[in-house]
């Protein structure tokens, strides 16, 4: 690792402008985490038009802050209101709220904040050490390797991510299809343009993302049935005792590691990490009955894990140019619009951006640790605003925002169209995340595949004969075939169980 570059990153991250954007980002992130209904990916999509007007480094620092800040915010409502602000904080509700009812809300929030900070910091250190290594290794990648990697990434998001795998793959494939709209750079012919001048330019990432994540989410939330009104539990003593910390230190450590690895995996991420960390703690605990009744480990582990995962999910994006989840997809889009091409060359070509963002995370997490507890009162006040009041404000931000990208009304209509698509997808069980990811990767992926075919002289088997791309594609095939193998194995054991059941019924008589 280049120490000079690392240190210059700190210089960049501590510039007043970047500090300000970092602060804004983490505050917005915490706010989004506190408020149910809007997630970090949707918020990042909605704020894309604003981000592109600022300096690239500042913009990415802010977007990154929104993402990992949201992991801190979700905890507050989980503990105090039994209302998870983010999907990754749902597990924290179980023990967090139980602790709050026992008068230990302060300890729960404190342990959660410390756990989040430790998890994030361990993850950033891992990121700092690992990222340059992976990037330098990946510099040898040619178009075939990149194509295989992008395909594997999309497939992993479709399989491991939430939602039905087949549906996610259809969504991803459709995203790839939408990415082909416009002028084909290789042959200079128009594809799917239907004689429209605007469509000939292709579909704008930002517009599509704002539609699929922003508008779709807003419309989807309209159908939300009114939940019950909550009374916030009073926060007493804010700091956990030394004994509390010692009790949760193991959970924090384990959660951080679990989070780090699950975050790097495309399709994994904060939600899965929080679940896995909680399940692990419960499994290895000497008294598992404590879980769900106010076990501090049940708060410490998922909180460390979700923050660690949020941070480590930057690795595939910053080193390989592969977004690991929807929020990283938004960051990918932001980088592209800002004129920065994500990929292994990012470390070398844009060290101020690379190290500036990574080092801003140290600062951002410190800010979050210091701010998250004192701001609890303010966040509870914010929650007193009814969601019905916030909704139109978000609508106006979205519509005006998308207009300002190109001063184009056409863009608003495209966004609305994708908003309808996204809404219908959510209603019928298709996740919009894989579609956005595939759309954002689509142009580069097609480019890589076609370049590869030109290199191979038209022989696709060479994808497999090249060592690196061959290995990646082998993993790809493994991931595709694994569920099929499992299904076959299940069907082989099924006949025996159906034979057992009649016996059981007989014995009950």
């Amino acid at each position: 690792m280049n120490i000079d570059a690392f240190l210059s990153g700190f210089t960049s991250a501590t510039e007043p402008q970047n500090l300000l954007y970092c602060l804004i980002g983490v505050l917005i992130g915490m706010l989004i985490g506190v408020l149910p209904g809007l997630g970090p990916a949707a918020t990042m999509a909605i704020l894309l038009p604003i981000v592109v007007t600022v300096d690239p480094v500042s913009g990415i620092i802010m977007m990154a802050g929104i993402y990992y800040g949201a992991q801190y915010g979700g905890t507050i409502t989980s503990v105090l209101l039994q209302l998870p602000g983010e999907a990754s904080s749902v597990v924290t509700v179980f023990d967090g709220f139980a602790l709050a009812k026992q008068g230990k809300a302060g300890a729960a929030l404190g342990v959660a904040a410390i756990g989040s900070f430790v998890g994030a910091t361990i993850s950033i250190v891992g990121l700092t050490l690992l990222a340059p290594l992976v990037a330098s290794w990946a510099l040898d990648f040619g178009p075939p390797e990149y194509a295989a990697l992008a395909l594997l990434g999309v497939l992993l998001v479709a399989t491991i991510g939430s939602g039905n795998t087949v549906k996610a793959m259809i969504a991803a494939a459709t995203g790839l299809l939408f990415a082909t709209v416009g002028r084909d750079s290789f042959t200079n012919t128009g594809r799917f343009t239907f004689d429209s001048l605007e469509l000939a330019e292709g579909l704008d990432f930002v517009v599509v993302a704002m539609g699929l994540f922003g508008v779709a989410e807003i419309l989807y939330n309209l159908e939300e049935r009114h939940g019950k009104v909550h009374v916030p539990v009073k926060v007493g003593k804010v700091w956990p005792t030394r004994r509390d910390l010692r009790q949760s230190s193991g959970a924090i450590g384990r959660g951080s590691v679990i989070g780090f690895f699950l975050g790097v995996l495309p399709g994994g991420g904060a939600v899965m990490a929080s679940l896995a960390a909680y399940a692990t703690e419960k499994r290895i605990s000497k008294n598992p009955e404590r879980f769900g009744r106010g076990a501090l480990e049940g708060v410490a582990a998922p909180e460390s894990a979700n923050n660690a995962a949020a941070t480590s999910s930057f690795i595939p994006l910053l080193t390989l140019g592969i977004p690991a989840n929807a929020s990283m997809g938004m960051l990918f889009a932001a980088l592209l619009v800002l004129g920065v091409t994500p990929g292994p060359q990012l470390v070398e070509e844009n060290p101020e951006l690379f190290w500036g963002v990574i080092n801003s995370m140290y600062i951002g997490n410190l800010l979050l640790l210091l701010l998250s507890i004192p701001l609890v009162g303010i966040f509870i006040r914010v929650l007193r605003v009814r969601p019905a009041i916030l909704a139109p404000i978000i609508c106006v931000i979205t519509i005006i925002g998308v207009y300002t990208i190109n001063n184009s009304t056409f863009d608003i209509f495209v966004m609305i169209l994708f908003g309808i698509v996204g809404y219908l997808m959510k209603k019928t069980g298709f996740e919009p995340g894989p579609m956005v990811l595939a759309f954002v990767l689509g142009a580069i992926l097609e480019d890589s595949v076609r370049r590869s075919l030109l290199i191979f002289g038209g022989d696709p088997t060479q994808f497999f004969t090249r060592p690196i791309s061959g290995t990646i594609l082998a993993c790809f095939l493994l991931v595709v075939l694994l569920p099929v193998i499992q299904a076959v194995r299940h069907r082989r054991t099924a006949p025996t169980t159906t034979a057992d059941q009649p016996d059981r019924k007989d014995s009950l008589r």
Partner: protein, 179 residues
């Protein structure tokens, strides 16, 4: 609380995670409409199939070329065929899935909301952003949100004024405006 304990007692190692996932899914689903039936699954599969077929047909028209010299249509064609295959698979296996949501009376709210978006898009270049945004806010607050007239008026006006100041004076971003 005790229900949850019963559900989470470890039978085997994997069960905790599976039960946990079910628990989490349940929490997130509590405020959503009930699941839709097989019709939703079949129709969505057919729509996906239609997308794939249309894509394939159009892509074929752009010329497939050869593997040595890929035409403009080769990649879209391959992707479209993938969609077709996956949609057929989904049609076969997806009928019993429970991951769709029924359209309810609340879905009418979504239609209204959509109409407001279209309304603003149409009116914005003609009469500026202030009035369409105001109308959108009024519809969302009063009719979609059930707020009182007083609250609607205050929030709508405050929002439009705030955006006016923010975009035209703060960020100096040009927006079509009437005032």
């Amino acid at each position: 609380m005790s229900e949850r304990d019963e559900r989470l007692t470890p039978a085997a190692g994997d069960d905790i995670l599976a039960q946990l996932e079910a628990e989490v899914a349940h929490e997130l689903e509590e405020h959503r409409p009930p699941p839709g039936g097989p019709a939703y699954q079949v129709i969505s599969s057919l729509v996906a199939l239609a997308v794939g077929v249309t894509g394939a047909v159009l892509a074929y028209g752009y010329g497939l070329g050869t593997l040595r010299r890929p035409g403009a249509g080769l990649w879209p064609f391959v992707v479209s065929m993938l969609i077709v295959v996956l949609s057929l698979l989904l049609l076969l296996i997806g009928r019993r899935l429970q991951d769709s949501e029924r359209f309810t009376r609340a879905s009418l709210l979504v239609l209204v909301g959509l109409a407001t978006f279209v309304g603003v898009a149409v009116l914005l270049p003609i009469i500026g952003f202030e009035i369409p945004s105001l109308l959108l806010c009024v519809v969302w607050l009063k009719f979609l949100g059930g707020e009182s007239w007083r609250s609607t008026a205050i929030v709508s006006l405050a929002t439009v004024v705030a955006f006016y100041l923010l975009f035209l004076y703060g960020l100096s971003i040009p927006l079509p405006h009437l005032f």
